[in-house]
Symmetry: C2
Subunit: 161 residues, 2 copies
DNA sequence: ACAATAGTTGACTAAATTAATAGGGTTTAG
DNA sequence: CTAAACCCTATTAATTTAGTCAACTATTGT
């Protein structure tokens, strides 16, 4: 498991999509403008998301992207897996052609760590992220001058759902 | 927070170090050979680890590296932070010069996720990783001929949890 | 004390991978 | 038929990873 800006962009874009898809397909051009992510880059990312069955596309005018399944069933891990592609982090190519116990060490260790991080990200679903974001936005709208910043404790609560 | 092979190499090397430092300073040449990581690359990594006060170096013959503090007090997060360096993942440079609610979205979201992953990795200390590894090694030593190799399906299962 | 040796340190370079951009092609509603 | 959208592929730019080389430092054997 790799964690880079690519995955971050993808998650951000997916949240944007989640916030608007009720009004029909969402265009990449819109996401691009709102989130300040280059259109061509978004196209690449959504190509992958589509091929992984996470989003559906509608072509032609009035088209765009929608979620392929309920947002509760889409985890951050799904998204990152889709855009960040395979990677084997072990010398031995993941197929155990290690020669002594030591070489295998790296192997197992990272498989374990991977599993842990995945497990965590698997537990964070898009629905809750979108909900958080929507409520935050609504709140900000109701009192514009008093711009709000979350404290650390609050942040934790938010992320944990 | 970024998660790449660089951090993985660093953690692997640190575990190797942890498994041997009781017999005095451990040389990078040894780690290099055992873990199959290029010596020069290790030098770079340990330069950073040293500057971050995670390891101490002893120069001259019989020299090498040792932990700068008890392994229980060294977390995976510490190691990754040391080698993977700065990064701000937000458009607005992390200083909140965002102009509207949307731009800030990315910002907060990723700060939250970062914090979480860090918190998790902060909870994994080197001592336990080393211990696991040592016991696993001992176990392998007791039954040498029955070398076990995972099949692809098994691997998949392991990785996916 | 002196040379040889084992080891770290840091600067620089090259290769490989990733991220991002650009520019065309394809489908479809109106 | 045309404009709005997705869809692909190639190219460029940036970052990471890896490797090289030449000091510098401390120990040890003589």
């Amino acid at each position: 498991m790799r964690l880079t800006t690519k995955g971050r962009f993808a998650v951000t874009a997916m949240i944007d999509l989640g916030m608007r898809q009720q009004r029909g397909p969402v265009t990449l051009a819109g996401i691009s403008e709102r989130q300040k992510i280059s259109l061509s880059y978004l196209e690449q990312l959504f190509g992958r998301l589509r091929r992984h069955g996470i989003v559906d596309s509608v072509r032609g005018p009035g088209g765009g992207y929608t979620m392929a399944r309920p947002m509760v069933e889409i985890s951050v891990a799904d998204i990152i897996r889709a855009v960040d592609e395979p990677i084997d982090a072990t010398q031995c190519g993941g197929l155990g052609n290690c020669h002594d116990g030591h070489e295998c060490m790296t192997h197992e260790l990272w498989i374990n760590l991977n599993e842990h991080i995945y497990r965590y990200l698997e537990g964070v679903d898009l629905a809750s992220l979108v909900e958080t974001q929507l409520s935050k936005q609504a709140e900000a709208g109701s009192r514009k001058d008093e711009r709000r910043v979350l404290g650390t404790a609050e942040l934790k609560a938010v992320v944990n759902g």
